[in-house]
């Protein structure tokens, strides 16, 4: 199996789906880039200036042309709104929000429109729409370019929320998301784009709502998403050498949530750490903790430990930001403490 980066896996999923289905279109700011630039017209006619702000979609314009790879103004409401309208009327758009933080300027189109069409219209609408965007801190992108608001999306009925952690997952989940008949918010973590892993060449899907156990273990369950999965894995690997067996559950999708996958692991270990980059309050961790407390309380051997950032915006300066992000050390300490309890 070929080794590819997370970035390449995203692009491969897009390319394969666009190849397969001409209704799949990419919409977003600078998905190609360079329109009306001041370079020579001949040059502008052939280049892809950006190919997505982090180069994820580079090459797709060359392959599919302007009618499929649609550069837009910086206009998130119109991007998402247009994509939603197009989805409802027969296309399968993939809208790119660049940074998920920008959902703040187009949330109406997600929250009041795309998410609700099907319900408001009595099941008669389908909105096969994917909204891609980057989440995650760690790059000194500061408070408006570093958030992971999947918890907010997850609380919205009508959208599905996907938060993949590996190259393999990101391809399979993105293809599934594109083929899905519902609006999907697809959260790609900045820190993962360079992550390498095995990714099959062919187009494959991973069903939404199925957790992945990235480590199997018997003593403690760590539930983590996206970049946090790798921190949890690191802790699991370290502690295994000391005889502490950690199970790492990556739900992969926040909505739908694999409740069984989580609860079964909790039932088998009785000790839970939830690592969540979203929010110190009303976050993914809190939702899962509530799920566990209400469904599996009798399996718990110790209180659930939540590891989240503090209740602050994401800071800019690297030491501040590092202090903000849930760390391997905090996870390890939490597991050790649970094992002592």
């Amino acid at each position: 199996m070929a080794i590819k980066t997370y970035r390449e896996a995203v692009k491969e999923a897009l390319a394969q789906e666009m190849e397969r289905d001409e209704r799949v279109v990419l919409i977003g700011e600078d998905v190609r880039g360079g329109q009306a630039g001041t370079a020579s017209p001949e040059k502008l006619a052939t280049i892809e200036a950006f190919g997505g702000v982090l180069g994820v979609t580079k090459g797709l314009w060359t392959q599919f042309g302007s009618s499929r790879v649609i550069d837009t103004p910086i206009t998130e409401s119109a991007i998402v709104g247009m994509a939603a309208g197009a989805a409802m009327t027969g296309l399968r758009p993939v809208a790119e929000l660049m940074f998920m933080d920008f959902f703040g300027v187009c949330y109406d189109m997600i929250y009041n429109q795309a998410a609700k069409f099907r319900y408001m219209f009595g099941g008669k609408a389908k909105t096969p729409l994917v909204m891609r965007g980057m989440i995650g801190a760690g790059f000194s992108a500061a408070a408006q370019h570093s958030q992971s608001p999947y918890n907010i999306f997850g609380s919205t009925p009508g959208v599905k929320v996907v938060v993949p952690s590996s190259p393999y997952d990101v391809k399979g989940l993105l293809i599934q998301s594109i083929r899905d008949e519902d609006p999907v918010i697809f959260c790609e973590h900045k820190a993962l784009y360079e992550l390498k892993g095995e990714v099959p060449e062919h187009a494959y899907t991973i069903p939404l709502g199925v957790a992945n156990y990235t480590r199997e273990g018997t003593d403690v369950t760590i539930i983590a998403l996206s970049a946090m999965v790798h921190k949890a894995n690191a802790v699991a690997d370290k502690l295994l050498k000391e005889g502490i067996s950690v199970e790492v559950v990556d739900p992969r999708t926040v909505s739908p949530l694999d409740e069984e996958g989580i609860l079964e692991s909790v039932a088998s270990t009785g000790r839970v750490v939830i690592v969540d980059e979203s929010s110190a309050r009303f976050g993914f961790a809190h939702d899962v903790a509530a799920l566990i407390a209400s469904q599996a309380f009798h399996h718990l051997k110790a209180p659930i430990v939540l590891i989240t950032p503090p209740h602050t915006p994401v800071p800019f300066s690297p030491p501040l930001e590092q202090a903000w992000i849930p760390s391997v050390e905090r996870i390890e300490a939490a597991v050790r403490k649970l094992m002592e309890a």
Partner: protein, 514 residues
């Protein structure tokens, strides 16, 4: 002509031992026809109606709904013709039962009523019930997988949760035969459990995770809670977690009274003191001293006698050349201050690796269920001699541990063994044993298997021996080991394969690192 007859808990299927009365379908005093349904009874597997054995009148209800009775337990009394109350009471008394009023509903957690001196219950299988597959019926606690589910899962073909897959692997279930009720038909652990029960199998108790109806007991660390020293001590004595105490002392401290209150909650008046009436021991003879067996002595006596009697032992001996192992040991010890590896430590590692390579030896024999438990990790029990006996602390998963880890762990285990501070989990279990009498100058010996393990390695003293090598007489450091195997589960060739593998590892120790 009038007669009384018993209405009793039937035996539906071989494994049924008790049943719980759900409800009566007729009232006391009602008459019934043969085969009419009288009441509903639930077992751990099924709920079913009890049919009347003949025509009659339900003249007395003995058991109330909710009561669990053993098979043959008296539910009520039926009558044909005229009977007097005295006749009924006499009949009940003849069954050894208490007067009818005594059988009152008991909470489901209470133990089943004692089966008294009831006559042998007759199997009155009034309705065909799917009999469990496994025969003869083993203890009621073991998990039984119905034949309809047995098999191996093609994991590429089913959608199941990781725990369901794990369960299927462990229990030998083909998940293709289980219907998934999760998202998109995914099979969950619960689906598997339900399938087992629905198809007549049985689940060992812990897998049916039933909520605990006892007051919940805390398990978290209470060492930082504010409590008076006396309170802390009482709590420790009584096994009470301080989190379960209401703190009424000054400044929110838990005091003596709080712990006593918690104790009353958890240990209601019923005393746990067993009224054992011990027989006075025989008068000792004058000319010898009677030394009662210590707990340890008794355990050794019992277990090894059982092993020697039940397990057909055979032994295989082999000389191992230790030159390379000694060199490795010297190299490790010379270069790392934190480690002092002994030959025994290296042999533990070698055995662990050999067990992983020959997993058929890394087993326990479960006599009760007539099965072999094959383990994925080698938990090596190492015999440590003590003044009053011996104990076998375990190096868990020695195959996964480095030589340094094994050495350090063994060092501490041995000290703890001597100080008597080993915890049960540190010496109970294990998949293989090593007994080393080399330091006492023993050249070769045979050991008795440590049940339920199936093999033990006896290690003699490491010594210089003159051996022939390539036609030359040379002096080599050698040791003789002897493997005792339980022939019920390990055949001769298998034992020999293990020893051959062990020898390869010992003589080419670099193999242990790969």
């Amino acid at each position: 002509m009038s007669s009384l007859f018993a209405i009793e808990v039937p035996k539906w299927g071989l494994s049924m031992e008790e049943g719980t009365l759900s409800r009566w379908l007729i009232q006391e005093g009602d008459s019934f026809k043969a085969h009419q349904e009288l009441c509903e009874i639930e077992t751990s597997k099924i709920a079913n109606a009890l049919e009347a054995p003949s025509d009659g009148v339900l003249c007395r209800i003995i058991a109330q709904p909710g009561v669990t009775l053993p098979v043959g337990g008296l539910l009520g009394v039926g009558a044909q013709g005229e009977v007097s109350a005295a006749d009924i009471e006499a009949f009940i008394a003849s069954r050894g039962g208490a007067p009818s009023a005594a059988a009152t509903p008991a909470p489901s957690t209470a133990a089943a009523p004692v089966k008294a001196s009831a006559p042998e219950p007759q199997a009155k299988a009034s309705q065909a019930v799917a009999a469990p597959v496994a025969t003869p019926a083993p203890q009621s606690t073991a998990t039984q997988i119905p034949a309809t589910l047995q098999g191996q899962t093609d994991e590429t073909q089913v959608q199941a949760t990781p725990h369901a897959l794990r369960m299927a692997r462990e229990l030998g279930i083909d998940l293709a035969k289980v219907t998934g009720q999760g998202r998109n038909g995914r099979i969950s652990q619960k689906d598997v459990e339900q399938a087992i029960v629905a198809q007549g199998g049985r689940l060992a108790a812990p897998q049916l995770a039933t909520p605990n109806r006892q007051p919940l007991r805390s398990t978290e660390d209470d060492s930082r809670l504010e409590a008076t020293p006396l309170a802390r001590r009482l709590a420790k004595q009584w096994g009470i977690n301080l989190h379960d105490c209401r703190a009424t002392g000054a400044r929110g401290r838990i005091c003596q009274a709080d712990v006593e209150a918690a104790q009353r909650t958890y240990q209601p008046a019923t005393s746990t003191v067993a009224a054992a009436t011990a027989q006075p021991t025989a008068i000792p003879q004058a000319d010898f001293e009677v030394q009662p067996l210590s707990g340890m002595r008794r355990a050794i006596a019992q277990r090894l006698q059982e092993s020697k009697r039940n397990a057909p032992h055979y032994r295989l001996s082999l000389d191992l050349d230790l030159e390379n192992l000694m060199a490795l040991r010297q190299e490790i010890n010379a270069s790392i201050p934190q480690v002092k590896v002994s030959i025994n430590d290296l042999l533990i590692k070698a055995c662990a690796q050999a067990l992983i390579r020959v997993p058929e030896v890394n087993v326990q024999y479960d006599e009760a269920s007539q099965s072999i438990r094959r383990y994925s990790d080698a938990d090596i029990s190492v015999a440590v001699a003590l003044p009053g006996g011996l104990i076998t602390p375990i190096v868990r998963a020695a195959n996964q541990k480095s030589i340094a880890q094994i050495s350090t762990e063994m060092h501490h285990l041995a000290t703890k063994a001597k100080a008597g501070t080993l915890k049960p989990e540190e010496f109970q279990g294990g998949t293989f044993s090593i007994s080393n009498l080399g330091m006492l100058g023993i050249r070769q010996f045979d050991a008795i298997i440590n049940p339920p393990q199936a093999a033990i390695l006896a290690i003699g003293s490491s010594e210089q021996r003159v051996v022939a090598l390539d036609g030359q007489m040379v002096i080599r450091q050698q040791v003789t080991v002897s493997l005792s195997c339980d022939h019920r589960v390990i055949d001769g060739a298998l034992g020999a394969t293990f020893l051959r593998e062990l020898k390869r590892l010992v003589q080419t120790p670099v193999l242990m690192l790969v």
